[in-house]
């Protein structure tokens, strides 16, 4: 076929496509889209699945690997026939949430995470670039078959930069014109869809025509054809490739089933372009039928190609078989079919990817950049920005495809790049299915799953496919591709499920999860008809938030600014925005937004608003929790204060009791002294009486002095200001002096002393006078209180482990009652003691204070027969600090 004819025919076909797209858009714009909405158009648009890879590549695939090509059709067929209810649900939820792409779906489900959407966009772009390159290559290859004079059978792919560039540029133009006409992505692209439907018809007819030509033109009917297929199967060289590999089959069916859901272009035509889920009723059987028709003649064409053109590129058998047989018209039809397959895939992919790139990369980045300095740009109209971002993205996607095509030299086998793209996008499937079916799925799980799966895909499948690294070599003949698919998908799923189980979704996610899994749509409130009817409730609401005066002032000012009298302004967008901003200052942005929407009624309360309210409610809850903990803190402080107060009160009571006791102890001897000194004035006293009374006065005066000494001593010891004069002391000498001093008490009683003299010769470093004071006190007490008939005082001294000494002094009297043992070291404990002997009851209290100052201890030893005390001494005062108990002794 002459080059000019080919170009002219192609251009005419392209013009037809532009015309159809244009007409469909016009019809839709005029509201006469009735026939455009037919489910068959929708079904045909789904055939964008059959790219040039399927059109040309399936035959090449079949000639290399036999029936395995069928897996690429089986996956979608199983999904469409077996899971039609799931597809309907997917479409319903996606339309409910105004989802624009597969990335948008996943991010909306998992708490509107744009980072997740950006990650999925990245995977989609990486996977799609070689795939787009592949389409460009198929067009330029098929173009070369016609455009050169070289023998057709010898045409092997070569770089055809010119053709590919022209094709890329034309497709970019088409996608921009018909793909970025309107902004809201859920408004559909009628022109594109209709053109694709027409192309679907062309490619199906072309393929069927080649099939018929091969079976009835080249072979002699079906029987002969089957015979040839059977013969080819017996050829050992071919048979090895045709062997059915269960691992590959399973993996490829899974991956192609996933791809029909996750490939950006499939999501675009199946979900975004669907007006409602009912189209799937027809598509559920019609699309599998289309796929069946497209695959019916693949094997016969492959076998015939191998037979007739053994040296040619199997990927081009569809074209070269009729061309070789001189069927130029049929060959041209095939060329148009391949062209259709390639262009429809590229256009839809470009539109879908551009939506993702602009929504998840460019616009967020632009907003983040612009928001920083002022923030006044936030409410600017973003329409132009977004449309231009999409146009830029379309050019970028096609440019990248062309660059890749040039760089790879057009030498890549058609089939492999398609599979690479499939396996990449399949990594989104676990998060998608989990998000739709499982409320517990959360963002961290989705991130981990998609991240891990796509990382493995990059390392094990994508990079080896572009010549970086290689697929792992596995023992036992396990297929590396199947292995990589199963490994990446199962680790992906494991990470997704694991992190979802062990993490908690935040409230926004939880509500989105509920909305997705149970497919409930928020109710749209009706909007009141007249403007006044809408302004009145706004005022009521504002009153509730600000109080009546301020609300009325604001509304009156707004009405005046609109040139209206009274206090009810028209609810213009400007006014609503100002009102919302003012309200936000009081009740938070999301709540204000939600309230205004509900009251003004212009816009429905969206799920997103509810989400925002929920997250503000959560903040409020956190605030409450914070307050609560502050209150608990306060209560704790109050408790501590109360405790301190109780302690002070108790101390005060103790102090009062102490003062009362001191008063008693002082007044008692003073009473005697005063009474007897009065009596002494009596003139007729006998000499004996006078001497007796003077003795009493003397005795009571001495008691008074001792009491004051003890009190002074105690106060010095307790205040911690007692000065120690430390020296080395022999305990034997000290005990001797104590016994000597105590013998003045009740001298009429003769005590037997039981001492172990040798063991008493023990040196300690301490304050000798203070220790002597303690010893005298204890021995004197024994002399005072021991009521045994033959009183015996036993004194024992032990060396203490780690230095120091232990002195035990015991008598053989009745001892001290158990109840009183804990009281004897308290001040004035002597009170109430019937067997008193003139002391103030401060002796043992002073002993305890002294021992504490010396770093030792004094304690009562129960169960020794009589009263027994243990005095513990450290090697020197500083060695043990101020609190060594008997527990420290052996």
């Amino acid at each position: 076929m002459p080059f000019e004819t080919l170009v002219a025919g192609s251009l005419a076909y392209v013009a037809l496509m532009f015309g159809v797209a244009f007409a469909a858009d016009r019809a839709a714009a005029r509201g006469r889209a009735g026939w455009l909405d037919h489910p068959l158009i929708y079904t045909l648009s789904l055939s964008v699945y059959c790219s040039a890879w399927t059109f040309y590549g399936a035959v090449g695939y079949a000639s290399r690997s036999g029936l395995e090509f069928a897996t690429i059709y089986l996956g979608p067929t199983i999904v469409f026939t077996g899971a039609w209810w799931g597809l309907r649900r997917l479409v319903r939820i996606a339309r409910m949430h105004h989802v624009t792409s597969v990335a948008d779906l996943i991010s909306a489900r998992f708490g509107k995470s744009n980072r997740l959407a950006a990650l999925i966009t990245l995977i989609a772009v990486i996977a799609a670039t070689p795939y787009v390159a592949l389409q460009l290559q198929s067009v330029s290859l098929s173009f070369e078959v016609f455009a050169t004079d070289a023998p057709r059978a010898a045409v092997i792919g070569g770089p055809a930069g010119g053709t590919a560039l022209w094709v890329a540029a034309g497709l970019a133009l088409f996608a921009i014109i018909f793909g970025t006409r309107n902004l809201a992505a859920d408004e559909r692209h009628h022109g594109v869809v209709t053109a694709i439907a027409l192309e679907a018809v062309v490619k199906l007819l072309a393929f069927l025509a080649v099939g018929v030509f091969v079976v009835w033109g080249l072979a002699e009917g079906p029987v002969d054809m089957l015979d040839r297929v059977a013969r080819a199967g017996r050829d050992p060289a071919v048979a090895e490739g045709w062997l059915l590999r269960p691992d590959r089959w399973t993996a490829l069916i899974v991956v192609s089933g996933a791809a029909i859901l996750t490939l950006p272009r499939m999501f675009q035509v199946m979900v975004v372009e669907a007006s409602d889920e009912d189209r799937l009723r027809v598509a559920g059987w019609a699309f599998p039928a289309y796929l069946f028709a497209m695959s019916f003649f693949v094997l016969p064409i492959a076998v015939m190609g191998q037979e007739l053109l053994p040296d040619a590129n199997p990927d081009l058998y569809v074209l070269t078989l009729p061309a070789d047989a001189g069927q130029n018209l049929l060959a041209f039809l095939v060329f148009l079919g391949g062209f259709s397959a390639a262009t429809s895939m590229v256009v839809v992919s470009a539109i879908a990817l551009a939506t993702m790139i602009s929504n998840h990369w460019l616009v967020p980045a632009w907003l983040a950049l612009r928001r920083r300095p002022g923030g006044e740009d936030a409410d600017r109209d973003l329409r132009g920005l977004i449309l231009n971002a999409r146009r830029l993205a379309i050019v970028a996607v096609l440019g990248a495809g062309w660059v890749y095509h040039q760089a790879s030299g057009g030498s890549v086998a058609l089939a492999s790049m398609g599979l690479v793209a499939f396996t990449g996008m399949a990594q989104v499937l676990p998060a998608m299915l989990g998000g739709l079916l499982w409320r517990g799925a959360n963002r961290r799980g989705a991130f981990a799953g998609v991240g891990l799966g796509s990382g493995l895909w990059l390392a094990l499948i994508f990079l080896p496919s572009v010549g970086i690294g290689q697929m792992p070599l596995l023992p036992g003949g396990i297929d590396p591709l199947a292995f990589a698919i199963f490994l990446s998908l199962s680790l992906n799923t494991l990470a997704f499920v694991g992190l979802s189980i062990f993490g908690f979704p935040d409230p926004v996610e939880r509500l989105q999860g509920l909305s997705f899994v149970s497919a409930v749509e928020p109710v749209r409130p009706r909007s009141p008809a007249r403007a006044e009817d809408r302004a009145e409730p706004l005022l009521a609401m504002a009153r509730r938030v600000w109080g009546p005066d301020e609300a009325l002032r604001f509304f009156r000012a707004e009405a005046a600014a609109q040139g209206k009298s009274g206090y009810l302004p028209d609810p213009t967008p400007d006014f609503l925005t100002r009102l919302e901003r003012r309200l936000a200052g009081a009740i938070g942005a999301a709540t204000a937004h939600a309230m205004i929407d509900r009251v003004a009624g212009g816009v429905a309360l969206t799920v997103a608003d509810l989400m925002q309210v929920a997250s503000e409610a959560r903040r409020a809850k956190e605030e409450t929790r914070r307050l609560e903990s502050a209150r608990a803190e306060l209560a704790r402080t109050a408790g501590q204060l109360r405790e301190a107060n109780d302690k002070l009160t108790a101390l005060s009571v103790q102090k009062d009791a102490f003062l009362g006791q001191i008063s008693h102890e002082l007044r008692t001897p003073m009473t005697s002294i005063r009474a007897f000194s009065d009596i002494m004035k009596t003139p007729d006293l006998s000499e004996a009486e006078r001497r007796n009374f003077a003795g009493i006065i003397h005795q009571e005066a001495g008691r008074l002095t001792r009491l004051l000494d003890d009190l002074l001593d105690l106060s010095v010891l307790e205040s911690g200001q007692a000065r120690l004069s430390v020296s080395a002391v022999n305990l034997h000498d000290l005990i001797g002096r104590a016994v000597q001093a105590a013998s003045a008490t009740r001298p009429e009683r003769s005590f037997t002393l039981d001492r172990d003299m040798p063991s008493e010769h023990l040196g300690v470093i301490t304050d000798a006078d203070r220790l002597l004071q303690v010893l005298i006190n204890v021995v004197t007490n024994a002399r005072k209180y021991c009521d045994a008939e033959r009183p015996v005082l036993t004194i024992r001294v032990h060396r203490r482990a780690g230095g120091g000494a232990v002195i035990e002094i015991a008598d053989n009297g009745r001892g001290i009652d158990r109840a009183r043992q804990s009281l004897i070291f308290e001040k004035f404990s002597r009170l109430n003691d019937p067997a008193r002997a003139g002391g103030a009851g401060l002796g043992l209290a002073i002993c305890r204070e002294i021992m504490t100052v010396l770093g030792g201890d004094i304690a009562y030893l129960p169960g020794q027969g009589g009263a027994a005390f243990r005095i513990v001494l450290p090697p020197h005062p500083a060695a043990a600090g101020r609190s060594v108990g008997t527990a420290g002794s052996p």
Partner: protein, 118 residues
């Protein structure tokens, strides 16, 4: 009939009071402990009880309360002179007929007893 029973644990004070009041002609006995105080009063049936507030084993306040609570009303109303060595207006003295703070002037004691026994 016995004029005065004194309940006082401090022997020197008891001795001084006994010396002063016996010289005024009053018949007087002593009890040296809080324990058994009410029984001692019941046994002696004095016209006046001189009661120390701080006694070992049983305080003067308790003895006074028991005395006033006795079913024998004539006995329960036995006049009581309370001696106290506590600086404050000691609790437990409200049911006493008179209170004398230690130390006291002998003249005050004699005048008080004279008036109470008149």
């Amino acid at each position: 009939m016995l004029d005065i029973l004194m309940i006082e644990d401090e022997p020197n004070i008891a001795e001084a009071v006994r010396f002063i009041l016996t010289r005024d002609g009053w018949a007087m006995t002593l009890h040296g402990d809080g324990e058994g105080g009410v029984e001692a009063i019941r046994l002696a049936r004095p016209r006046l009880v001189i009661l120390d507030l701080m006694l070992p084993n049983r305080s003067g306040a308790e003895i006074l309360r028991d005395l006033r609570a006795d079913p024998d009303t004539a006995f329960a109303m036995t006049p009581v002179l309370m001696l106290t060595a506590r600086g404050d207006a000691a609790a437990g003295t409200s049911q006493a007929d008179a209170v004398l703070a230690k130390p006291f002037a002998n003249e005050d004691l004699r005048a008080l007893v004279r008036r109470m026994l008149a």
